[in-house]
């Protein structure tokens, strides 16, 4: 440890409380670094949440509950009675996701991963830290999901997300609070609407039939009717895998028959991971996005 120079810096007249956290913005590790002015503008977050070329983040609401479970600082008492702080633990928070279980499951693959976490407070303030280059970034944290049976008594706390910050130093003097010029519901509206896709006829002779509905509902998703709506996210074996045909004759029911080939004409021999997505009201920005789905040949 080293000591810092402390300057007495006065006190403001406003004694308002520090607000509770109501949600977080999760961004990919070391991907989103902004100036404070950029972080305060809604137009900055739109492409981060919904760029059709790739999403780098999402807002997660903890309106159903938030806990600060940080371990108290370690205090050690010497054999002469002197008590001193000997260790600061990085913060550990638990938020209860304001989402359906269908939404929650889409976060399962984030379990144990490291992300940059921008804390969002009840008055709309966004907390982050200032990097060495002067830009601000979400604090680094590991995210943990809960693989558990349904809650017996408190449904609001059924979908916990534990966020374990990894470096307490990102909570010290370089901590920064940004007061955006937008409200949090406006931020939430930038997140694409979730769609759930499922296989209704397995992949046979090059084609697979999928059903797409608005997540956690039976409302058909009718806008996935072109090749561009069905990006291949990964191929687990075959080279040059593409969707070569989308038959949208039953799009009104959310049913699409896709022809998926390797090297244009060969049937798949290994699984691929696909998803459905479509632009919303803003060109170039996703308004609808499904979970990734594995198609097995």
């Amino acid at each position: 440890m080293a000591c810092s120079l402390f300057y007495f810096s006065g006190q403001g007249d406003c004694k308002a409380f520090r607000e509770r956290a109501i949600g977080v913005i999760l961004t990919k590790k070391n991907t989103v670094a902004l100036t404070p002015a950029e972080a305060a503008a809604l137009s900055t977050w739109a492409p981060i949440f919904a760029d059709s070329a790739g999403q780098d983040g999402i807002y997660v609401s903890f309106a159903r509950g938030y806990q600060n479970n940080t371990t108290e600082p370690e205090m050690t008492t010497s054999n002469l009675g002197l008590t001193e702080k000997t260790f600061d633990s990085p913060p550990l928070i638990k938020g209860f996701g304001e989402m359906s279980y269908a939404d929650y499951k889409t976060f399962f693959s984030a379990d144990g991963g490291a992300y940059d976490v921008w804390l969002v407070l009840n008055d709309g303030t966004i907390e982050a830290y200032t990097r060495a280059d002067g830009k601000i970034q979400g604090r680094r944290a590991k995210v943990f999901m809960n693989f558990n049976a349904p809650s017996a008594d408190n449904p609001q706390e059924a979908l916990p997300i534990d966020i374990s910050f990894t470096d307490v130093n990102q909570w010290k003097e370089n901590s920064v609070s940004v007061r955006p010029i937008f409200t949090i519901p406006e931020l939430m509206d930038l997140v694409p609407i979730g769609v759930e896709i499922s296989v209704i006829t397995a992949y046979t002779a090059g084609t697979v039939t999928l059903k797409a509905v608005k997540r956690n509902s039976t409302t058909p998703e009718t806008g996935f009717d072109t090749i561009a709506n069905w990006p291949i996210l990964a191929s687990l074996g075959d080279p040059a895998v593409t969707v070569t045909v989308v038959n949208a004759a039953s799009a009104a029911f959310g049913i699409y028959t896709l022809t998926i080939k390797s090297n244009v004409t060969d049937n798949l021999t290994a699984p691929v991971i696909i998803r459905g997505e479509a632009e919303g009201l803003v060109a170039g920005q996703l308004g609808y996005v499904s979970q990734p789905l594995q198609i097995n040949p």
């Binding site: 009717d225 072109t226 090749i227 593409t242 070569t244 045909v245 038959n247 949208a248 004759a249 244009v264």
Partner: protein, 57 residues
């Protein structure tokens, strides 16, 4: 590249005519367009021999 409600990828342009006809077999019924006309529509190659009759069986 759409014929009716069927969207075909750009990669169809890279197929030879024989490959195209073989791959297109299963779509004739859905599009209502025969392989010769579809080959012209989707690849821009060859001479259109017949007006496409979209939606017709």
């Amino acid at each position: 590249m759409k014929i009716g409600k069927i969207d075909f990828a750009e990669s169809w342009k890279s197929l030879s005519k024989s490959q195209f006809i073989e791959a297109y077999k299963g779509f004739e019924k859905d599009t209502g367009v025969d392989s010769g006309a579809a080959y012209y529509l989707l690849t821009g190659k060859g001479k259109e021999k017949k007006e496409p009759s979209q939606g017709e069986e």
